[in-house]
Amino acid sequence: MADESAVKKTPFYDKHLACGAKIVPFAGYWMPIQYTSIIEEHRRVRTTVGVFDVSHMGEFIVKGKNAERFINYLTINDVTKLVPGQVQYSAMCYPDGGIVDDLLVYRFPDHFMLVVNASNIAKDFAWAQSNLMEEVELTNISDQTGLLAIQGPQVFETLQPLTETDLSAIPFYHFQQGKIAGIDVIISRTGYTGEKGFEIYHNPQYSVHLWDAIFSAGKPYQIQPIGLGARDTLRLEMKYCLYGNDIDQTTNPLEAGIGWITKLDKPDFIGKAALLKIKAAGLQRKSTGFAMLERGIPRHGYRVLHQGQEIGIVTSGTHSPTLNKPIGIAYVRTPFSTVGTSIEIDLRGKIAPAVVVKTPFVPAHTA
């Protein structure tokens, strides 16, 4: 970050300091990368419950008579399928099919909320603005929105005592407006970990109050704050895409493995014509999960080989704390993307064997 004075603080900044976090500039915000240890924090979320400050994420409100039509043109999933109280994973594409960003679409009774990646807030807002339709009102409320993710098998035990909303009545990818610890919030049954979890959108004025209430309620379950480091290892075990690593404007949703959100049979949307062509021509490469057969961690940008010949590139990699071995995601030429295919990874000059595996790498427990 060239100018650190321009880096923003989330409403939880002082909490991170008090918890002893290692704090780094990330996507324009001072964010906690870890508090104790990435592996320990990862295991906390997989075994009991952990809390992530994700206030850096961006939120846009879309209102007006043409709000639905606008979002359906701007995004690749089918917004008309959403009922009020439902959330949809989607993405925005450029006319050539390259990805602007992946995002969540929330449908309220009389408006929508789009939740975008922190690093893309300005770009996404400008993109949406430049495609705006008549009778659509678009507002960026990112700076007026705090967001806390509470994730792990004991999330219900932690949060239910703090609210009169019946949390078990909110299905995965649904939300309700309610109160947590007396504060008006949006309670969203979503997350980026593969565990049961909620994301709590709130007025940042009450962020500290919420944090204290949730940590107090989660004490019996050894609740702890979780940094961006473990957020990455948790999402990687699920093969969830990370913008800037696995997807960007040079990749399309079909090859990225998010064809399931790409509704090519809905009315026109930005990128549709290009994506239809790409599909008809057949995918040249696919985002593919692999496991290393020896020690050594694959990382973004490393080459993928097959019998010495270059066939792809690593987009994400880490040591999986659950599997206790190195795993990765790579774009590989389609014939080599089948489970069981032997490949090699160029680990900084050392050619190490790996194998294409089924994903997610670890079973999801979101239900």
Partner: protein, 125 residues
Amino acid sequence: MNIPANLKYTNDHEWALITDDVALVGITEYAQSQLGDIVYVELPQVGAIVQQGAAIGTIEAVKTVADVYSPVSGEIIAVNAALKDASELINKDPYGEGWIAKIKITNQDEIDNLLSPADYQKLIG
């Protein structure tokens, strides 16, 4: 940050405990805290001849990878085999059980190139 007074240091955050013509080598408390959870260590070969400042091993942390550079020139006479299955020893005890290699020093003059504890303190601020 712990910077033991009896050690010499490098700009790359290694330490050396020099006893006559043998250097016990590892990475500093500061280095391990910057790396975070260490999950693999690639150790040098016993018998290898190394130059001061040359890479002798690799440390893989969850977030990043770093080379280990030799503080002295000489011959590797022992490596810490315990790190193969317990690389986290470097996180837990960087100056003790987390040592990496033992090197028989062939050029004593080069020891003058190393940093004193006070200079290393200045380096990490």
